[in-house]
């Protein structure tokens, strides 16, 4: 099952990911069940799920491409086009809103000069509102990439913004 290495297609996955995929698929009673795990792995590596990626998953799991595409388009966590290198997700839901979540979101938007679901001009940061991420007791919360930040006061938001900026400068 190494169809990717044989052709000179632009879409290719790292050997590590391919090895993981080969381990995951047989664990499920049905191949189709591996759709979400495969999409997660590919998004981790590529940053988003392209049409080619969806087709690759479909072929790997012996499904019609639409069966993968309908999954990609339904679940909010799958991106269909590239987003910023850093993904700022501010919780929008009630307990966070009652504790100033909207002001925190505004701070991030202002800092990177973006609207919701927009990526900053330098391609660094995407700011998004997400629904309750099950940490309402430490509201307001912000998840940056995979890390959850709790009790985000205005001062803490400033720090987080600075950290993102510092990290961007180092990277470039």
């Amino acid at each position: 099952m190494s169809q990717t290495t044989e052709t000179a297609e632009p879409f290719a996955l790292s050997p590590e990911i391919l090895a993981k995929i080969d381990k995951i698929v047989p664990r499920y009673p049905s191949k189709r069940s591996a759709t979400l795990p495969l999409l997660h792995l590919i998004q981790d590596e590529k940053g988003f799920i392209s049409q080619q990626a969806a087709e690759w998953v479909a072929e790997r799991l012996e499904l019609e491409p639409i069966k993968v595409l309908e999954v990609v388009t339904f679940y909010p966590m799958f991106q269909q086009k590239p987003i910023g290198r850093r993904h700022v997700k501010v919780c929008r839901t009630l307990s966070c809103a009652l504790n100033g979540g909207a002001q925190i979101c505004q701070k991030f938007k202002d800092a990177f000069n973006v609207d919701l679901n927009e990526t900053s001009k330098d391609g660094e940061v995407t700011v998004e509102y997400v629904e309750c991420i099950a940490s309402c007791g430490t509201a307001p919360v912000v998840q940056i990439d995979e890390t959850l930040h709790e009790n985000v006061t205005e001062e803490r938001a400033d720090q987080l913004i600075e950290e993102i900026r510092a990290n961007a400068k180092q990277a470039s």
């Binding site: 009673p29 189709r32 979400l36 997660h40 929008r92 839901t93 009652l98 629904e131 309402c136 007791g137």
Partner: protein, 452 residues
């Protein structure tokens, strides 16, 4: 632990020196109950769970023993066990504590449940945003596998069962058990119609399936440890055991509190355990069981008769923390998520926030839910944007009334109940809100004329 708490599931959580690794867990007696369980007959496990009276902690409060009994064993098909770790009902953050801080308790509870139901393969469906949580569970599973607490021939019992962590991807509807099943099958999480798709009969891969919440499955461990009848002495008849309440919103000490069912009231939880409201603030309303439960106004009174015939006359703060009492007060304990709102809260804004959630999360299969939730959201969004009308209160209620009871899954009710209850209980405020805006609009329109 705060005074008044009775920590059974959370006994070790947040204790100094207690880690989430298997050594910490085993030093505290972990996996001893699994050893005991595999020495019992599977039917005995099921009957202990039945005797315990334990009810589901995920939202509906259905007795776990009964659910297990409905498993279609005659079909000869493999049985699946799924732990619902989607924790997506707004206000809820209890399962997160177990997953991140004591994952082995969940694994032990699951393997006992798997053995009792003779499950062929078990799953933990964890919400996708809990990246770290999924890694923690994967690690814990490998630790448990190395000690033969799961996998092949568990503890020499001849029983084998593997456990797969399956990550969601940000959709609330995956918390609904049949949507969750579809999601594990690799599809859009469209909830299935019941009947015929009761999971215990036609669940995952059309095989008999048990779906239970994280907290429920952890309780199973304690039921087997103590014995069902002994466990049932905790709490009250029909409302046994402890429950974990997630408290958020306008309280001084939000957090999670494990309380014996019926041992405390909402008032005691908010005022004593959570340190009350912020200085100078008064209580306005409580959402008692996740954002889909019907709101309670601070000055409401509830009278009536409980199932056992005892009469009650409660203020909001007097409602006991269990399953049946919030139901008697016309709402529900749901997922145990208490959202507190003080008198600074803009009640129309709060409902607008809730409406936006349910509109975003409708899966779109049923017209009343898909369209209705969107209309509700649009009306409240227009209201908070300064275009409120007096008739909006009735409009909102009529839309909600046309969703309730007309959909495939309970997301329809989850959408309708907040609206119905907010309008019923804060009608004056909605109307006042609209009048004030109308006056402001009029003043604004009149201004240029006055200048000219």
């Amino acid at each position: 632990m705060s005074a008044g708490e009775n920590r059974i599931l959370f006994k070790n959580i947040d204790q100094p020196g207690y880690g989430r690794d298997i050594d910490s867990y085993m030093a505290a007696g972990g996996y001893e109950t699994l050893k005991k369980a595999v020495g019992m007959k599977p039917e005995e496990i099921c009957s202990e769970v039945m005797d315990s009276g334990i009810r589901g902690r995920g939202g509906a409060g259905f007795p776990a023993g009964m659910k297990w009994k409905f498993l279609d064993r005659k079909s000869g098909k493999p049985i699946y066990l799924v732990c619902n770790a989607d924790e997506s009902e707004p206000g809820t953050f209890k399962d997160r504590q177990i997953i991140y801080k004591d994952p082995h308790q969940l694994i032990e509870g699951m393997m006992i449940s798997a053995y009792g139901t003779q499950t062929a393969l078990a799953f933990i469906y964890i919400r996708g945003e809990m990246y770290e949580g999924a890694r923690i569970l994967e690690e814990a599973i490998e630790e448990a596998r190395a000690k033969n607490f799961l996998g092949d021939n568990i503890l020499g019992s001849g029983y084998s069962c593997d456990l797969i962590v399956h990550r969601g991807a940000g959709a609330y509807i995956c918390g609904e058990e049949t949507g969750l099943i579809e999601s594990i099958e690799g599809k859009r999480p469209y909830p299935r119609i019941k009947p015929p798709y009761f999971p215990a009969v036609l669940g995952l891969y059309m095989c008999p399936t048990i779906v239970n919440n994280v907290e429920t499955l952890c309780h199973v461990k304690h039921v087997i440890e103590r014995g069902g009848k002994e466990y049932a002495k905790i709490g009250k008849p029909g409302n046994t055991g402890t429950r974990i309440w997630s408290v958020s919103g306008h309280v001084q000490k939000p957090g999670y509190y494990e309380i014996e069912c019926g041992a405390m009231t909402y008032g005691e939880l908010i005022n004593d355990l959570c340190g009350g409201l912020r200085p100078g603030r008064k209580l306005k309303a409580i959402i008692p069981g996740g954002s889909s439960s019907k709101v309670l106004r601070a000055d409401e009174r509830f009278t009536g008769k409980l199932k056992d015939g005892t009469e009650f006359d409660w203020g909001v703060g007097d409602i006991p923390l269990d399953f049946d009492s919030p139901m008697a007060a016309g709402t529900m304990s749901g997922s145990g998520a208490v959202i507190v709102m003080d008198d600074s809260t803009d009640i129309v804004g709060a409902l607008a926030n809730i409406n936006a959630f349910y509109a975003h999360e409708s899966c779109g299969q049923c017209t009343p839910c898909r369209e209705g939730s969107l209309w509700l959201k649009k009306v409240t969004a227009r209201m908070i944007a300064g275009e409120a009308r007096e008739e909006d209160a009735d409009l909102l209620k009529s839309i909600a009334d046309q969703i309730e009871g007309r959909t495939i899954c309970a997301h329809g009710e989850a959408t309708a109940w907040p609206v119905q209850s907010f309008i019923l209980k804060f009608r004056d405020e909605f109307i006042e809100y609209a009048r004030k805006q109308a006056a402001e609009r009029k003043a604004k329109n009149a201004q240029p004329a006055a200048v000219a």
